[in-house]
Symmetry: none
């Protein structure tokens, strides 16, 4: 391992350290209320150091999205490229589980993604980051739609454009997550994400099957 490479690795480690701290702070405080000083303190670094690794607060925030989207893509690819001869319906179940794991991987960053105020944030991103986010988003949509495409081809799912299905899955997922979270906030109750997501997916799959009896 060259000295160059070691440095690069060290640098990456620091980035991760900061992102982990940022994730925690943003999760607890939300984007606006989280201060760079909070994050620095959480990372046990000085505020100035953060700026050696991230151009500004927006960019630090956004880089967290990338992590989640990357994880999502990995999980989806795993489902799509499955070698074990899963049926289309089984694949939707695997999809559901993948979505659930994505949520568990980083619940609060994910929620922040749906955060509309991010519109302001997105505008200020370096085009580099924005391009990455777009690419990852599109890729995950494409992967999901492949699942439905296959089901349609095999005559198991009704014949609608698979991307529309993928959109709806995304929407259901977002909706369940947000709805559960918002109930949790208002009521202080624990959430039933797994259960609700399960039912929602079941209903969805029932709705797109060509024949009721499996």
């Amino acid at each position: 391992m060259g000295i160059q490479e070691r440095k690069e690795r060290e640098r990456e480690r620091r980035r991760q350290q900061i992102m982990v701290a940022a994730k925690r702070v943003f999760s607890v405080r939300g984007y606006q209320k989280a201060t760079m000083e909070d994050i620095a303190k959480e990372a046990e670094l000085s505020p100035g150091t953060l700026y050696l690794y991230f151009r500004n607060k927006d960019e630090l925030f956004s880089s967290l999205f990338i992590r989640v989207l990357q994880y999502l893509n990995i999980r989806l690819e795993y489902v799509v490229n499955d070698e074990t001869e899963m049926s289309p319906v089984q694949k939707t179940e695997a999809l559901r589980d993948a979505m659930y794991d994505v949520y568990e991987f980083d619940p609060l960053t994910l929620i922040n993604m749906f955060h509309l105020q991010s519109s302001d944030i997105l505008k200020n991103l370096s085009s580099e980051l924005l391009t990455d986010i777009k690419a990852l988003s599109r890729n995950s949509l494409n992967l999901m739609s492949k699942i439905f495409e296959e089901g349609i081809k095999k005559g198991v799912f009704i014949d609608r454009h698979p991307v529309a299905f993928a959109d709806i899955v995304w929407a259901i997922f977002s909706g369940v997550v947000l709805w559960e979270e918002s109930k949790r906030i208002i009521d202080g109750e624990k959430n039933y994400l797994k259960e609700t997501l399960g039912i929602a997916f079941e209903i969805f799959v029932r709705g797109i099957k060509t024949d009721r009896k499996q």
Copy 2:
């Protein structure tokens, strides 16, 4: 009408005037970027006056939710208490249209409702307001679940707890709105909310019907 009452009425009028202005400003700017001065200017009042009607910015913001929830309840009651002998499936279609109108009534306040940063906001609410929000939310859930209850009773929908269905409808709705909005933000494209919402509802209803042929 007593003098007391007239005063109260006048006061309410002012509150509404401010809320209308606030809605416009929050919609365009988002919660954080909207300043109290912006809102005051929009309402053609002075900043100080706002504080005579709302304790602080959070409370003003939150009171907008009430408006949306009230509108939602009115629309739902209309569907539930329908006298025209609509079938359960027709009622779900009416429900879909109601949801769509709710979105149109005040798209951005609604989106902000799903806004997790509001978690900070919700914590700072007067318990009075919070109680109102909770009550209205529950009421709308109950109204929705009545539609499904009826469908289940009539054997048209599968036999699951109607509140679960209502939750899912809420989730689909939230998800479609947010997903469409976020795509609109990222791509700068126009949104297809109506279309996507239509397909999602259709799939949902297909999924909960006991038999394919109506």
Copy 3:
């Protein structure tokens, strides 16, 4: 005096109060080392208040120039439009005295005007302010050149373009001021501006006269 007018007057008074404070602080500290908080403290106001009257630090700084340039123009017009039948040479003496008074009016703001770092500042000005500064600068050049134009017409001064003369007067003036000031800084000695300026002007006028004997 209408209420509108009184308010406007009050507002102008505050602006002046801030500018006076700013002038003092910039003079002592220089542009970069002077902080808005320093100025606020000097004006016995809070930092935020400064921003109600000036968009930002640059604009506050630049507005001081306007004051000096306005004073310069007043003095120059007085010399140019003189009714007392001064000879061209006498007018150059009046010009010299005017320049000297301009320096006394606000020595340090004037010095800051020659401040090259202001190049950065000038770029950030509102075009409104920049336009004012340009206009005032040009006007003072024009006024000065009128003095020389008259002398040339009367055959008292050699026939060169009067604006060139005006430029040189400005340059001599700037040069004397800066040179005196820099000597003062390095040596801690008192300055001899009046004397040096007097000699410089005398030499200048001798140099442009068509004939030694007046």
Copy 4:
């Protein structure tokens, strides 16, 4: 050459290397906007290394003045000790050309010299550096005044104290440079330094000659 001496020489080379880089960076960016990191990068060194050769940013900045003043002195000595029997008036022309070359040698450091904000800088200098600057300044004044002294002795120039003349030459020079620069900044036009300086000197020389016809 002892090992001690070689080290010293090596050290001096490094200092020069840094100063050359600093000159370039200060020229482009101005004192405040130039960062130590910029300079380090330009010198292909690390920021820390700069501090092994210069106590701080101010001292690095000021050491540039020395270079300019040294060059000025070399040029002036060349004019004063001329062997080619130049007349006093010709010497003033040579002086003018020398001043012009000084400006070309390092325009922006020179301008920064007139920069009053440097007052803050000068205060923080090591007395060693300050002494050097003073000595070089005085020396150049003395050299210039010798030119005028000779002219006075020969009856070509009027009988005033030669140092006063030297002061005025310095002032005219400073003034022209700054005035030209500030016009360039405001108008974005190219500068006419050579031309303006030429006219100013011509007028100056005309003004101190005892007789119009040479």
